[in-house]
Structure formats: C-alpha cells, structure tokens
C-alpha cells in the first residue's frame, strides 16, 4: 500500500532545498538510519536538479511504501521536458549532455535500492527511486 506524503513543485533553484528538506523529513518520520537518509536525500537532490536543468522543472511526489514486512520511501520525479532517446547511455558515468560531471543520474542510481527511468524524446522524463528501511 502506498501512502502519499508530499508533493513538491520544482521550478527554481530554491525549490531544490525544498525537495531535500521534504525527503529528509519524510525519511526521518519513517525512522531511516542516517546513512540511508543521506543517500536518499542526495539522490533526490541530483534528480530534482536534473529535472530543473534538462526538463524545465517538474514535480516530485514522495510516498510511503508499506508491504507486509517492510516500510520504504519512494520519490518520483516527473517532467514534461524534451526527454531522452537513450536512457542506458544517460545512466553511464561520465556521460552528460550539459556541463555537469555526468555523475548525477548514474550516481543517484547507486545511492538507492530501486531505480526506474522512463523517458522518450518529446514525452518527458519520469524517474522513480525507492529505499527500504533496514531492519535493525
């Protein structure tokens, strides 16, 4: 069962702080450990920045994931930008269409448990990341 927690619109640089704060607050409320929370917030920051830079802004939806034996957090980044033709290439370290280091997308993928990228030229981009709370 998924429970929506927050919806953040990303239109300016300042909204990136809002995304980080929202993800951090939600992660804390689900009792994520510091390491998992830091990874998740960093990945969210990268993806929100990508969305702003390449997709002309968009929305971030944060949800709580609840399965029978575990709890997690999912953040979905959706824009109506130009999209990308080759999603595999976009995930390769060092590949960048902008002036960045090309570590954003591939880097974000390494920081979370689940990563889904859905994009087509002319149809925008949707990236979804999820991490589960570690059982202690």
């Amino acid at each position: 069962m998924n429970i929506p927690l927050e919806l953040v619109s990303v239109q300016t640089d300042d909204d990136l702080s809002r995304v980080r704060k929202a993800v951090s607050t939600c992660a804390s409320s689900l009792s994520f450990d510091v390491m998992s929370r830091t990874r998740l917030v960093t990945a969210a920051s990268e993806l929100a920045r990508n969305m702003l830079k390449y997709g002309g802004g968009g929305v971030v939806q944060i949800e709580k994931l609840r399965e029978s034996s575990r709890v997690g957090l999912r953040a979905t980044f959706e824009d109506q930008g130009p999209g990308m033709a080759d999603t595999e290439k976009a995930l390769t370290d060092g590949f960048s269409s902008g002036r960045g280091l090309g570590l954003g997308l591939g880097g974000a993928r390494r920081l979370v448990d689940e990563f889904l990228l859905d994009s087509q030229p002319g149809r925008g981009t949707k990236v979804s990341i999820a991490t589960w709370v570690r059982n202690r």
């Binding site: 960045g100 954003g104 390494r110």
Partner: protein
Amino acid sequence: MDRIPIAKIGSCLFATIQVDMHDRLALALREDLGSELLRTQAKGVLLDITSLDTLDTFIARLLAGIGAMAQLLGARTVLVGMRPAVAMTLVELGLTLEGVQTALNVERGMALLEATR
C-alpha cells in the same frame, strides 16, 4: 539576499556553512571568497561544513572550484567537519574533491593551514 559571513583569523579566511546550502548561496560564497582573498591576501581558506547533511554533485563541484580558485590566488583550502554519511555518499557517487584538503574538525584544519604556511 542571504550570504555566508567570512571571518579573517590570522592569515586565513574562515566560513561556516550553517544552513542548507542552496545554489545561490554557494555561488555567492565563491564570489565573496574570491574578493576577500584579493582584499586580505589571506594564505588559507577554512570551510566548516559540519551543519551540511547532504552534499550533491553541484555543491561538491562548487567547493572543488573554490579550492582551485583559491589556489590560483595563492591560498590553500581546507574543508572541515564533513559528516561520515556525507563522506560515504560522496564516495558512492564517485566524486573526488580535487583542489581541497580535508580535516576532521576546525582545530585540525587550522593546524594544517598553519603548519604549511
């Protein structure tokens, strides 16, 4: 607009990043450090990031840029107070902070700058 205050201690510039470092604040810090280095002829820059709970590639790149700029202006940059989780995340992202040295805390960072003056 908000700005991060820069203090001069001995021959070093010192700035503490207290808040979530948004992009404009980071860019303003770089600009301010540049003009302060020129004005004070400081030999070192100490940046305290104890309060930062995340460091994404944009901010990391900007901090590395500050290090490179300071170097061109004759000063060394030491970054102190990085949280273990932030350090681990940087490693996982595949980022290296070239141009800046790091130290555990302000005291050790100061000692590092003083030792090699």
